[in-house]
Structure formats: C-alpha cells, structure tokens
Subunit: 311 residues, 2 copies
C-alpha cells in the first residue's frame, strides 16, 4: 500500500500484539524508543489505563485520534481531548466475558481450595492422613460493584452456579433481573464475595474504602478485576493483616507492576499480574477493532467505538 | 432415646462428619478401632469408594444395610449384596453441582493461569517486565464422559461460559441439548478439555486408555473428577512426560492418598486430594441423607436412596 499513514505507539509493550494485517496498513513509530519523533502522526495508540502525557499533543500537533488498545480509558482526560477536537476510541465489549470468567475462576480457587489442594498433595499433607474440606459456592452471596458488561457477564455465570447476586452502582438499571442494593455499604455487608467491576473515573477513586472493607468483614472476600484506583489498597492490606477482611483477590494495583515485597507476609491474598482481560482471543479482537478505528479515522468516517462522555 | 440401634462404621475418618443429630440416634461402633466388635449391627456405614470387605458379613450376621456415606458405590459388590438380602444406599444427587463447580474451576485455573499468575507476581516475573498471556475459554470444546448429574451440571455451567459441549456415554439420552459423540475416541479427538464424570464400574476400568489420551493430544487437557479406576494413570504420566498430552487435572487416583513422589517432575499436572465433591454443604446434606436411610431401614420402610442395579 502506498504512503501508509503514520501512527505513534505510546507504550512499546503493545507492539508485539499488533498483528501483521494492522502493522502492514500503517507505519507505527514507537514513542518509547524514539520520543518526539512522530511530528506528522495524526493518531496515537495507547494503553488507556496509563496516564496520557498531554505534552504529546505539542509533539504531534496534527493529533486527531487517541486509540486505546484496551477497554479502560481512565488514563485519558476525555474532556480535554474533546476540547481539542481529538477523538478517543477504546475496545468496548471485547473482553468483558473473559474478565468475568477470570473473576469466577478466582472465587472457585479460593472457596474450593484449588491451589491449596495441589500443595497438599505435593507436600505430603494428604498422605499424612489429613483431609481437606472446602466451601460450596451454592448460595454464595455475590455482590457486584458496577453492573456493566463485566458485571452482567459475571451475574449470568453466578446464576448458572447457583450463587445469589446483588449489585450496586450509582445509577438504576432497568431490565436486569438482579436486585440493586440500597448502598455500597449495604451491598458489602450482605455479600460473601464483593467483585469490583466498575470503570475507573476520577470520581470513584478509593470507592472501596476502609468502611466498605469493614462492612465486607472477616467472612468476606474482595475481588478487584477493574482498576487499582477504585480500591484503598493500604486499607485492604491492613484489614488482611488484622483479620478483619477474610480474603482479597487482586488483579490490579495502585502501582503496576506491583512489588512482591508489598505482599510478602500478607495473609489470604491471591494475586495476579493484571491478566483478567488478557487472553489470546481478546488480543486478536482488540487489534482488529484498533485497525477498524484507525481505518475509519483516516478515511474521515465515524469511528466504530468512540468513548462516550455520557458513560 | 432408649436402646438405640447399633451401627458399624467401616472407615474411622467418617466419624467427625457425623452430626450430633445422627450420632445421637444410633450407637456407632468404629470397626477401624475395634474390628469385629459389632456382631449385632444390622447396618454399616462405609465410604462407597473403598473396597467393602465381604468378610464383615460373617462378623455381622444380621447385616441388612450397607449405607454409603458418599455418592460412589464402586467399592461395593451390589449384586453380591442383593443375593444376601442386603440393601445398599448412597448419597445420590447431593454433591454433583459441587463436583461440577470444581471441574470448571480447574479448567479456569489452567486456561487463565490463576495459580501461575500468583507465582508471577510473587517471584518478580511481572516486575521484570514480562507479560502473561492467557487462553480464553470462549469456544473451548468441552467433552464430557458420562452425562449424569455431574455431567449435566458441568454442561450447564459451560453453556453460561460460552464453551461448546459434546459428550459420550454408553447409552443414548433423550431430552438433552448437547450432542453425543459417535465414540469416546471421537469425543477425545474433538475436545480441548475432556472431563471424566462417569460412575466407576468393573466394566469401565481403564476406560480412558492410552489411545483416548493420544486422541486428546498435545493441545488437550484431561480432567478426572470421577474415580481413579476410570483412567490409565500410568499412560497419563507417560503422555505428560512425552508432551503427547497437554495437561492433566486429577482429583482422584489409582491409589489414595497418592504419593507425592509419583508426580514429582511430571509436567503440566494439576493435583488435588479428592476434594471435588467434599464441601461443607455436601457433608451436611450427606449426613442428613445417611440419617434418613438409617431411619427408614430400622423402621422397615423403603430407604430414600437405594443403589439401583439398573444404573
């Protein structure tokens, strides 16, 4: 293809995920390796979860599109972009089912002692005559914070596994079969497992506060597959150390990658390296959608998945 | 209660599970600690998965009931019992949903790298800049061997998680929405994950043979939550060592408890100490049902859950 458009890539780690089809249609310039070397770029591809450096606009004065590779766009000041006539796109409804699978997998891992069971067999605990009892998830009271794509996918799985789902979010939703709790604190108090599935915004930073964690209590489990910013991480660690929170499952953190030192000696915490939505299938579909957004933008057509300011 | 009936307990480990209500209604004699000391016992409580010592009948000439604490009764020669006028009961349809939960949890653990993710964060792999890619279970081809209570519970969960389910069993089943494969080998060849959910019988010992494992292949995962006897365990180990089987998830074994030495150095094997059906809820309900079977037997009424010879 003659004279392909120039596209800047803000995070170098994204480069290996770009499939041949997308990589061939555009000239990608890696800002990580050559910052400021794409003055002609009209589009930049970013990890929407990382803070977008507004000074990049000065380095790319023709910038008209910030294309988030992933679903989250909490790193982008969408209002600022709109004012400057910059379109923001993201990977809407691509990996919400994968994230829900992962959250359910972690609930099963904790309740049914899947990781512990493996250690029991290997370290001889079973052979020494002990028997491991696990907790049934039948009737487990699942509380979902944020009943969007992930939250609803989670609730459908929970229904099939005979859990009892409630949810909370700032807005009422019509046409959903699961009851909305009167408040976040009430939801936490009435839940065995509280799964955070809300999109992160400046307004909900620290939403899962020490009070919410206290309400969840020593019999409760916190699962965060959304964003680290939504949870008061220091309060979670303190509650786990004191035993005032039963367990925590964290895929996202204040700082990523999180330091192993932060978690050494913290009991009942199950960690993962921000992989809830990172699957082979999701990556393929995210690259396809990225290509579709770039194609539309450069053709001057409406982009398939713009970020909605109303959301 | 005056002069409660005498009930023998074949496996001492079952004693702690007997709730107060059941323990109060009968005098339990532990055969493990005092073999042959219950000549008057008319009922014996057993783990149905362990071989039943027929000589116990000589020690208990009045024996009329073998009450299996659990669902499986492969340790009991039901035909022999029938000939001697001994009723056999078991815990039918108590923990099949728990077993299905566990199997799904293990599929998620392997595909979504739940255990590995925790190790990655803790050992610094994430911090060193690596990223972990996982496999989506969307479209995963699930093969179920034995579409009974466990198999159907499993298929319902798989539907909610957008897997594609097929099954095989020796008999056709009407009214089920999942297609039956033309043979076990075909099912294995067409499955990403093959879950064994059949009840064990002398006729299906070693059903999952080296040929079935070969058909499942290097991209396939074997999950056994049924009985060790159904699977050629040596062939599984050999296939894992050679890489001709992708992964194995084993909750049951040739010999239980299995020796840790048997699995040291075997790659891609995920172990658990026979806990797929062992939950707090299931135990409570199994004890209740055991009590109901004992009560009916001693009153001369039909027992609630006799083993069916036709099954």
């Amino acid at each position: 293809m003659a004279s392909p458009e120039l596209v800047a890539l803000a995070q170098p780690y994204l480069a290996p995920f770009l499939t041949e089809a997308v990589a061939e249609r555009y000239r990608f310039v890696d800002l990580g390796q050559q910052p400021g070397v794409a003055p002609d770029a009209r589009a930049v591809v970013v990890d929407g979860g990382r803070p977008f450096d507004a000074s990049l606009r000065e380095a790319m004065p023709r910038l008209g599109l910030i294309a988030c590779f992933n679903a989250g766009y909490d790193g982008i000041d969408v209002e600022w972009a709109r004012k400057h006539g910059i379109i923001v796109t993201h990977a809407r409804h691509i990996n919400h089912e994968d994230v829900a699978d992962f959250a359910i997998g972690q609930v099963l891992n904790v309740y049914r002692k899947i990781g512990l069971g493996d250690r029991w067999v290997r370290d001889g605990s079973w052979q020494s005559g002990n028997r491991l009892m696990t907790r049934s998830i039948a009737g487990l009271r699942l509380g979902i914070v944020g009943l969007g794509g992930i939250g609803q996918a989670l609730a459908r799985r929970a229904d099939a596994m005979r859990m009892v789902t409630s949810w909370w979010g700032p807005h009422h939703k019509s046409g959903v079969p699961w009851p909305r709790a009167s408040s976040l604190i009430d939801l936490a108090a009435e839940s065995d497992a509280l799964v955070i599935a809300a999109s992160a915004k400046p307004s909900n930073r620290g939403l899962i506060s020490a009070s919410v964690i206290e309400a969840l209590g020593p019999g409760g489990m916190l699962v965060n597959v959304a964003r680290g910013s939504l949870v008061d991480e220091a309060a979670v660690i303190l509650a786990l150390m004191r035993g005032t929170l039963g367990a925590a499952v964290l895929d996202v953190y204040d700082e990523e990658p999180t330091s192993p030192d932060r978690w050494a000696g913290v009991p009942n915490v199950f960690l993962s390296p921000h992989i809830a939505g990172v699957t082979d299938l999701a990556m393929r579909r995210m690259v396809e959608l990225l290509g579709a957004n770039l194609d539309a933008f450069f053709k001057g057509e409406p982009v398939p998945t713009p970020v909605s300011l109303a959301a």
